[in-house]
Amino acid sequence: MRHGALALAAVATTVVAACSNPVVPNYNALSGYPHTAASLQSEVTGAFDGVRTDIGNYNLFMDGMSRNTAYFTASEQRFVTVTTGESFAGPGDVFMGPLVWDFYFNAVKGIDTILANVPAIVVPTTSGSGPFPVAQQEAIFGALETLKAMYYMYIAQTRDTLGVPVNEVGRPIGATPTPILCAKDVWSQIVAMLDSANDSLTVAGATTAFPFTMPPGFALVSANAGSFAGLTRALRGKARIEFAYATGRPTDTLSIGTPNTAQLDSAVTDIVSAAPIYSPTLSAAEAVPAADLGVFHAFSTTSNDVQNPINTNAAAIWVLQDALAEIDTLDLRFVAKFGNAGSGPTSVGADIGSSWHYVNNISGSEPIPLVRNVELQLLLARAHLGLGDFTTAIGLANGVRTNVGGLPPASVAADYVDARNFILTEQRVSTMTEALGDRLDALRDLNLIGVRDTTWKAHSGPDGTAAHLAGVSKDYQTSVIAIPLGESDARNGNITPVCP
């Protein structure tokens, strides 16, 4: 009976213990965005961090589609075949599909959430406590709205005429999607966002400081609203050029087209007023991106941070023969990044790669430019090209060539085609592998996508055979990343852009 009593006691204890609610801590989902003054710093840091992990893919894809460089690896030949166009990469492509899309909209959502809650954040004031002063609220808005516009610019650059659904962030999950906007309206909205950001920064006042610390890559513009407005205007200048050409691209390869001259005029104004990033004074030091005046994505090799996403694969990033053909390998801008390995890649697509690869000024903590002075010089040249001021355009490009590249000035005829080609070449060597996408933008805007050189050979025989080596050149093309399958699926396949 004693045994029975013990057993029953154990049972009773068990029953009582088992009748509690099964609750365990949630380890992986934090409360998220509590929107307090204390949390604002980490939320803003998260906003700046937005797309850092994906910027490497953006770089590789944009540079591959520009026929500048490609990442050659035997294990993943699609970095070559898809980005430079030999392989099919339509909707449903899981390689490129979701990249430069999901993270960017997600980052925008984060920014919108912060902005919506900034007015409610309570901070100590001279009279006790209250919201941030209006000037600081305007400064926060101006900075984050600029960041948001920049994320949309990345997406717009990779999709071109496929369009971007700019108005979807923040709408309820499951709501009927709004149409994807066409390129013209996308760039219009991006310019409008930057207008709004610039207005806020202006209202804030040039000396108003931000109530948070920006990442080191933004040091040049982080002191106050006035300096940050330089970034806003630099981006707006670039966006205006795209907006100008969105409806006025030339229809052939010889004429200037009908770009919106008002936007181009404003672009010139924006860029030259983009100090402290813009400076008419150029030097050879600016051949190295990190040494230029600019704003950067910063990286580090410390735990739980992000390393420069290009660095790990840098030396397998080979300059394509197409690019090498028009580049002086003594150009300081080229030498700042590339070295001659003696032999080129050995994996798939080896025949389009040169023996030059990315080995200089690259490390896990090397920053990647968002926008920098050399880029602005060449964007300015492009704006003048569109305005028909070929002499000014050539002069600006020659300024970069001589002062930064260390080369003698080029003698270029002051006509559209020569000026255009000269600017494209200087742009190419100045900003290869950087997160700018300027060359691809220019190729599209100037109707040159269809005439890019290619050295792809038809696979008319086994590798290395005479039939293969003598194969017919093919003009494979990839100039956009497809709208991701997920976006397409959620829209029931309706991804045709609409111009309202």
Partner: protein, 994 residues
């Protein structure tokens, strides 16, 4: 509160019941013996029951028993594991009896577990719950228990992930049960009534291979070629395995039972003297297949070298070519290690009047076919059952296992270091196995790595230490002629530590290549899995007139499962130092989860009309911390009925018709009820962001509703049995990570919704066609067919996570209404346009298994063939070779490459196969010989030679169609990505009984 009241009421009633005195009439003493009908040897451990009562006894070591029974005509029911039960009538004055039991070679009469502490004879069972006995898994040495089960259980699809040592298999019961609910990925394992972990923990191989990225230094990934922890079980400890395939059977495990339940019963001591068993096996593993790698003539080699950028001079090409006599056979050089493997098993079992015991030990080593790989395991187990008092029994099972697996770098990688990845881009005229003058391997000029150097110097040890313990307290305060009341308390704990310490030296070619910014990688992961559970049950049995038997049970269950995964990856190591602290770049990863489930159940099991009619009904209610509402108990009812027709027509011994209905479920994944946030450091600051996946605070478990019906036929006086089962398994309220509109900021969202149906047919036939004095032939065949379809989903069609590598050129998965959830989709030309189409299925259209055991006197031959038809495999490995034009069939490469450039899917193949899984030839030495040689020490001795996976008949062009790059997957199987190649094993064994 209501639940507490119910339990309290039940207990009060039980205590009142317990106080009742049982009336006893005039009794007499019966003595008897139970013998084996074949050799007339006494059978200890047989259960002798007074028919229709709960009064019984177990036979002694000499097969005898003494039982007091009421006066008058009576009958005894005798039952023993491995024998068919028998009923013997006793006359009014009979006091002695001898019963011969027939061996149950076709397993007609086994105890089938129906609940916590309840069971029923398989002849009455209303569900099809295949039982695998020890003999069926011990014929051929097996790396892990799952290997020994492949193809033998209709409805259980057991597939290899690769040929790596130490296991790595997936078990899928009756088709795809879920799309995203990871708990439904594998069946639940219950050992001696206690739930045990079958966690599959990523090792961190991705840190070295870059499989889930294109760099080294990342954290663990599903592509880490991990194994399931059920691999820790010693197959020799297992008495039997019972598969609860349908929800009618698995409903007792509620929200953990949707993917099926495997009940493992380990060996226990039986009455009699200590019985010692000793087994020694020696053998080897051997590469069983190779790919047709391209051979070059010397001129072709020179041309190829030029086309590859000319990394070697013409003279060097000639030199290499000659060193290999024209063909360097990398596959057999790298994977041709046939070093010895061994296994030693020792066990002792027995029983004293108050204690039953079983103690076993194992030590084994499986040598890997790849250089520097292998699997070593030691385990011990102790099972003790103590008869504390006439009404109280306590038992305890404790097992400890320690293993070390070295599995090399295989499977998907993005650095070019996996063995077959490396072979795919290295031409066969290059002598990659050559050494420099300082003894180091030559650099591979055709890529970034030398496979031989990698195999020799990349270290991949995975150490597992695991202790499992289970206990059972069985209190039976009331036993009368017609009723009994029993309280059972079961509890168990399972604690495993898996340590992975991988090391890639800084001077490896790949580490010094452009692909690695930080030469040298060292990882340290120490994963801990803690599982505990207990249950309490009250069981009342009633045995009445006309064979009425009613078993009523009720109780509660509680389990908790926690997993902690800290991982440190260290890079840029000072040459020669593997310790993580010497890495310049150190990255830490950490994740953890904790799940608590609890439930209450009640069940009624009734046998009527002389046990012809069996009716069972039950209800289980469970709540889980993973559910959105943790206070809500989800019901899992079940009901089943069977009826036996003895001798319905001439020639048929018996036919049983059966039907069952049941509901089980699957708890949501940990954390899906929350919006996950994303945290990351940004040069000293911490950044907070939204994750990409939106949570659902109201998330619910999936529901699996199962109908099954069938019949069991016994013919020719038990020499032939046939059973057929049809089922329809409908999974609703699916956990879906549905596609959100990415432009909203979330690209996925967790939801409940949609429906999958699996319909299938399972057939089994077993027979003893020949049983002469000397010769016996026992045969068994099984057939299973399952068809799955997504009936509906509340969202547009979507690709379920990263489960494949693209519709073109490989084929991938897509969840779409009207199609199979495991369908492979790819691109075909429709009107000249590449169009996404379902091109086949990763799961077979049907499977068959063929077992044959032949015995001639002491000589025994065992064969088992495993067949699968109608399934597809995505062969990325071939595409790797095509990329470097490195296959013998260059025309095939050209065709596939052309198809790929058209956006088509040329790498999806039919995987049909027939495998000779098992072959054993055993000779039982004569007792006179054993006795003489062993000087009376041995009871039995046998010698055997055996092989596993000896021959494969298939048209699949890859290494083995039984392959899965992503390891455990609900969908997403059948990806052939440079895996550890398949092996076959040969063993010589000596079995001794003392």
């Amino acid at each position: 509160m209501r639940a507490r009241l119910v339990i309290a009421t039940i207990m009060s009633l039980a205590l009142v019941f317990a106080g009742r005195a049982s009336a006893q009439g005039t009794m007499r003493r019966i003595t008897g013996r139970i013998l084996d009908s074949a050799d007339h040897q006494p059978l200890p451990g047989a259960q002798v029951l007074l028919t229709g009562t709960t009064i019984g006894v177990v036979t002694t070591d000499s097969g005898t028993f003494v039982l007091r029974v009421p006066s008058g005509a009576q009958s005894l029911s005798v039952r023993r594991i491995g024998y068919r039960s028998s009923t013997r009538k006793l006359t009014d004055d009979q006091t002695e009896v001898t019963v011969d039991l027939l061996r149950d070679v076709l397993q007609l009469d086994q105890q089938v577990i129906t609940g916590v502490g309840t069971a029923i004879s398989s002849k009455n069972s209303a569900t099809h719950d295949p039982v695998i006995v020890a003999a069926a898994i011990s014929n051929v040495p097996t790396p892990t228990i799952e290997n020994a089960l492949q193809g033998k259980v209709p409805g259980a699809l057991i597939s290899d992930n690769s040929g790596a040592p130490g296991g790595g298999l997936q078990v899928q019961v009756r088709g795809t049960t879920s799309i995203y609910a990871t708990a439904a990925g594998q069946p639940l394992y219950v050992i001696d009534g206690v739930i045990m972990s079958n966690a599959s923990i990523p090792s961190g191989l991705n840190s070295v291979s870059g499989a889930a990225g294109n760099t080294s230094g990342n954290g663990p990934s599903p592509q880490d070629q991990q194994t399931n922890r059920i691999a820790d079980i010693n197959p020799a400890d297992i008495e039997s395995l019972q598969f609860l395939e349908g929800s009618a059977a698995s409903a007792i495990y509620g929200s953990k039972g949707a993917a099926g339940v495997i009940l493992i019963t380990t060996k226990h001591g039986a009455a009699g003297k200590p019985v010692y068993s000793f087994t020694q096996r020696v053998g080897s593993y051997d590469l069983s297949n190779t790919l047709p790698v391209r051979r070059f003539t010397l001129p072709e080699a020179q041309t190829n070298n030029i086309s590859r950028g000319g990394p070697l001079t013409a003279a060097e090409v000639t030199q290499n070519y000659n060193q290999c006599h024209g063909f360097c056979d990398f596959q057999n050089q790298l994977y041709g290690n046939t070093g010895p493997s061994y296994e030693t098993d020792l066990s002792v079992s027995g029983a004293t009047p108050s204690t039953d015991y079983f103690v076993s030990g194992l030590t084994k080593y499986d040598n890997g076919a790849e250089t520097n790989t292998g699997y070593q395991k030691q385990s011990i187990r102790t099972n003790i059952l103590q008869h504390v008092a006439s009404t109280l029994t306590a038992s305890a099972n404790v097992a400890y296992a320690a293993s070390t697996a070295r599995r090399g770098v295989n499977g998907n990688d993005n650095l070019g270091i996996a063995g077959y990845d490396n072979i795919s881009y290295t031409p066969s005229y290059f002598n990659m196995d050559a050494r420099n003058s300082n003894g180091s391997y030559v650099r591979n000029p055709y890529g970034v790595a030398n496979a031989f150097d990698d195999a020799a110097r990349i270290l991949t040890p995975e150490n597992v230490n695991r202790i499992t313990a289970g206990g059972n307290l069985d209190f039976k305060p009331v036993t009368t002629r017609s009723q009994s009341l029993e309280f059972i308390l079961q509890a168990g704990a399972d604690y495993a530590i898996q340590k992975d310490q991988f090391y890639a030296p800084a001077d490896l070619q790949v580490e010094t290549s452009p692909l690695s910014a930080f030469p040298g990688t060292s990882t340290y992961q120490s994963a801990t899995n803690q599982l505990s559970n207990y249950s309490f049950s009250i069981i009342h049995t009633y045995t009445g007139i006309r064979g009425v038997q009613a078993t009523t049970s009720a109780g509660l269950t509680h389990d908790q499962n926690a997993l902690y995964l800290p991982d440190i990856v260290s890079q840029d190591l000072v040459a020669g130092l593997a310790n993580q602290q010497y890495g310049v770049v150190q990255t830490s990863f950490y994740s953890q989860q904790n799940v608590v489930n609890q439930g209450f159940y009640g069940q009624e099991q009734v046998l009527l009309f002389d046990e012809r009619l069996a009716v069972t009904g039950g209800l289980n209610a469970e709540a889980s911390s993973n559910d959105g509402g943790v206070n809500r108990y989800y019901p899992y009812p079940k009901a089943s009925v069977s009826y036996r027709f003895p001798n319905p027509i001439r020639g048929i011994d018996e036919i049983k018709l059966r039907g069952a209905y049941g509901v089980s479920g699957t708890v949501p994944n940990y954390g899906v009820k929350f919006n996950a946030d994303s945290l990351r450091g940004y040069l000293g600051s911490l950044g907070t962001k939204f994750g990409l996946v939106a949570g659902d605070p109201g998330i619910q478990p999936e529901t699996n509703t199962d109908f099954e019906t069938g019949f069991d036929l016994t013919l020719l006086k038990g020499k032939l049995t046939f059973n057929a089962t049809g089922y329809r398994k409908r999974i609703t309220n699916l956990l879906l990570q549905a596609q959100a509109l990415p432009s909203t900021g979330f690209d996925q969202q967790w939801i409940n919704g949609g429906e999958i149906t699996n319909q299938g047919l399972e057939l089994q036939i077993a027979a003893t066609p020949i049983t002469t004095g000397h010769f016996t032939w026992i045969t068994g065949e099984n057939f299973a067919r399952n068809q799955a379809v997504v009936n509906n989903i509340p969202v547009p069609a979507f690709t379920p996570g990263f489960t494949s590598f693209g519709f073109s050129p490989f084929g991938g998965y897509r969840i779409q209404a009207g199609a199979s959830p495991s369908a492979f989709w790819g691109q075909t030309l429709v009107n000249g346009v590449p169009t996404l189409t379902a091109l086949g299925d990763a799961n077979p259209a049907f499977t068959m298994g063929f077992t044959n055991d032949f015995s001639y006197d002491r000589l025994h031959l065992h064969t088992f063939f495993d067949m699968r038809r109608g399934f597809k495999v995505s062969d990325l490995t071939e595409q790797y070779f095509d990329g470097s034009h490195n296959l013998e069939d260059t025309a095939g490469t050209t065709a596939r490459t052309a198809a790929e450039s058209q956006g088509l899917t040329p790498y999806l193949y039919n995987g049909d196969y027939l495998k000779l899984r098992e072959l054993t030839l055993r000779y039982d030495l004569p007792f006179t010989f054993i006795d003489r040689v062993g000087r009376g020490m041995f009871r039995t001795a046998s010698l055997s030679v055996s092989g596993r996976n000896l021959i494969v008949w298939t048209k699949y062009p890859g290494l083995d169609p039984d392959v899965s790059n992503f390891s455990n997957q609900l969908v997403g199987r059948g990806q052939d990505v440079t895996p550890y190649p398949p092996t076959r094993s040969f063993f010589f064994s000596i079995d001794l009984g003392l």
